[in-house]
């Protein structure tokens, strides 16, 4: 019984890492430009579909990866240039609506280019339990999940270094802190926004490949974004560590609730449980775990 509990817990934590990966894309853009980018899920879908489509056309794994990365970066830059720049200074809700419109557009474009069939994505990692762990401790942990968690960790560490050690990273943080002050010290705002969108495209590619390999590349990938939202409110919109910790908490509690609580209420509670959890949490800490505490004045 106890080993089953740990198995569920570890499975939940590992799938939580996957949520964090998607949430990361949201946080990057929200931090830098205050835009709540609902299209992140569609970007994930678009990236996975483009990668699969390219490999189907005979490109090797590496070439397809580089090509998809290039496509995602161009797409990010285009979004910044064509959608967000004309909407600068509009109320946040307008920007949010624009990203919902954008998500429709990207979903349509992706399926127009590559078709709507469900495809498999092979990364060469087996989705099977690690043998010695199940032998020794009696706990089944998927090798794939572990690798995915590792990739996520590398990505987060890389982004962390990028933000704290490089010139562009520091400029990004300055922009996130205060647009006007950043402009005043000579940081090119639009260029920074372009970079952020390109990075978000890259994160979407990584998330898309992992999720695609897990669940197949299909339209349902766009709903991954809906899974990432409670992670965001739990962790705070502006915080990268928040996205990680929030993802772990959501992933673990969601799986535990589904397995141990679900049977009593008819199952299927995975869909709303994270939201209610995040909601209850918000009542205690309205700015999330790591969100910035805003002091309001008249």
């Amino acid at each position: 019984m106890i080993s089953f509990f740990f198995e569920v817990l570890i499975g939940g934590l590992l799938s939580g890492v996957m949520y964090s990966l998607v949430a990361l894309g949201f946080v990057l853009i929200y931090k830098a430009s205050g835009v709540f980018n609902f299209a992140q899920g569609s970007l994930v879908f678009f990236a996975a579909l483009t990668f699969v489509g390219l490999t189907e056309h005979g490109l090797s794994f590496g070439v397809a990866l580089v090509a998809t990365l290039a496509v995602m970066i161009v797409l990010g830059l285009l979004i910044e240039r064509l959608v967000l720049r004309p909407l600068v200074n509009q109320p946040q809700i307008s920007l949010f609506m624009a990203t919902i419109g954008l998500s429709f557009f990207i979903e349509g474009l992706a399926q127009l280019l590559w078709g709507a069939n469900v495809r498999g994505l092979e990364l060469g990692i087996q989705d099977e339990p690690i043998k010695w762990l199940s032998d020794v401790a009696g706990i089944n942990v998927s090798k794939f999940d572990l690798v995915a968690a590792g990739i996520a960790a590398v990505l987060v560490a890389g982004l962390g270094l990028f933000f704290s050690r490089t010139r562009i990273g520091r400029a990004l943080r300055a922009v996130a802190d205060d647009h006007q002050a950043a402009l005043a010290v000579g940081i090119p705002l639009q260029q920074i926004w372009g970079i952020v969108w390109a990075v978000a495209g890259f994160v979407a590619l990584v998330a898309g490949m992992l999720w695609g390999a897990r669940n197949g590349v299909q339209f349902a990938l766009t709903f991954v974004a809906l899974k990432a939202l409670p992670v965001l409110i739990l962790g705070g919109f502006e915080s990268i560590p928040g996205a990680i910790v929030g993802g772990l908490i959501i992933g673990a509690t969601e799986k535990l609730a589904e397995v141990f609580l679900g049977p009593y209420v008819g199952g299927g509670i995975e869909g709303w449980f994270p939201y209610v959890l995040a909601l209850l949490f918000l009542l205690v800490r309205p700015e999330g775990l790591f969100g910035e505490k805003i002091i309001r004045r008249i």
Binding site: M97, A98, G101, F105, L112, G266, W272, L279, L282, P286
Partner: protein, 358 residues
């Protein structure tokens, strides 16, 4: 020349506080009402009624509800469709379990149930704001739909979780044909739009707007935020609930909880953004736009297909529609961020001076 208020003097306070202070506006609205109540029922085809006019009006009512909450009280909500679902399923159960209950009372009961649920999910708004609140309202969306699917009692233990709306009979008169349904929906929507207009002009509407613009300042001048916010949630959900009941009874007939998905919530949000946030007119313009646009797109694609012999596959066509829909929304937001209602306002200003430039 035609649209000018010069020479129209007001000599009473009542005249000064009229909803439409300008005579031309009154005539215009009267004309619209005559067309809506008399001309359209006599001339329109059943297809027009059931595919465009009825959904247009019902969704306008829901948009009106969301506009009260988001446009006037400033609380962003993504759970509109769930509140509509509550209204629909509650009305169904009222009619089912209380034989002889007047239908309109059942609709109102559905609205009240939705309002109660709305207050419950509005409670977090006292602590959180902005996008945190928006995501929190998603909890309502997912939880309510799950509840309606899982609890057999609300669907009268139908094996597929579907309810079939009872025939609409009011005072012995059955509203069966699309025409009759249209008139019923139109009457309800007209009355509720009038009520909404008056609410937003009155004390409570000003409280909402004060809360929206700056809640701390509103509190300082003596507005109770708890009461104002929860009232906004209640009134908004009531409107959504009635709209949801009409959606089931007058439009779909047979409904499953999935009809009130997140997608519908988004569509209603689009309506108020494109129509004009914080305006009554905007709810109607936006609803017309969102309902009619996909139909026009389909017709255009089919027309091009037929004339140019492109042999567009239907999947390609539907993806193209999706892209155009998304693109148009972005386009509208960029060109007119204040919505269609603003365009009408600018037109009025221009008309007032026409034919002179200043």
């Amino acid at each position: 020349m035609l649209y000018r208020e010069a020479g129209q003097f007001k000599s009473t306070y009542a005249a000064d506080a009229a909803i439409l202070p300008i005579r031309q506006d009154r005539i215009g609205l009267a004309l619209i009402l005559v067309v809506a109540f008399v001309v359209i029922p006599l001339t329109a085809t059943p297809y027009l009624f059931s595919a465009i006019l009825i959904p247009c009006l019902i969704l306008a009512l829901a948009a009106l509800g969301l506009n009260i909450l988001t446009g006037y009280a400033g609380q962003l909500s993504l759970g509109t469709a769930a509140f509509m679902a509550v209204g629909a399923f509650a009305s169904y159960n009222f009619v089912l379990r209380m034989p002889g209950i007047p239908l309109l009372l059942a609709f109102a009961g559905g609205g009240v149930m939705a309002a109660a649920v709305g207050i419950l999910f509005g409670l977090p708004s006292l602590r959180i704001r902005g996008f945190y609140l928006a995501v929190a309202t998603l909890a309502a969306q997912f939880f309510i739909l799950w509840f309606l699917t899982k609890v057999g009692w609300v669907t009268n233990y139908n094996s597929s979780g579907v309810i079939t709306a009872q025939p609409m009979v009011i005072a012995g008169f059955a509203f069966d044909s699309p025409q009759e349904k249209y008139l019923l929906v139109l009457s309800i929507v007209t009355l509720m739009a009038l009520a909404a207009k008056n609410m937003t002009r009155a004390n409570i509407g000003r409280q909402w707007m004060a809360i929206r613009d700056m809640d701390v300042a509103a509190e300082v001048i003596g507005i109770r935020p708890v009461r104002a916010k929860l009232l906004a949630f209640a009134v908004s959900s009531f409107y959504c609930g009635v709209a949801g009941a009409l959606y089931a009874y007058a439009y779909l007939g047979t409904v499953e909880p999935e009809a009130y998905s997140l997608d519908l919530s988004f569509r209603i949000l689009f309506m108020i953004i494109i129509g004009g946030i914080g305006t009554i007119l905007g709810a109607f313009l936006g609803s017309a736009f969102i309902v009619v646009m996909p139909i026009v797109l389909t017709i255009v694609v089919h027309f091009l297909d037929d004339t140019l012999h492109l042999n567009v596959a239907s999947s390609v066509a539907s993806n193209l529609e999706l892209m155009v829909f998304g693109g148009l929304i972005i386009f509208f937001l960029i060109v007119e961020p204040h919505g269609l209602a603003r365009i009408w306002q600018i037109t009025k200003e221009k008309l007032r001076l026409w034919p002179f430039p200043h």
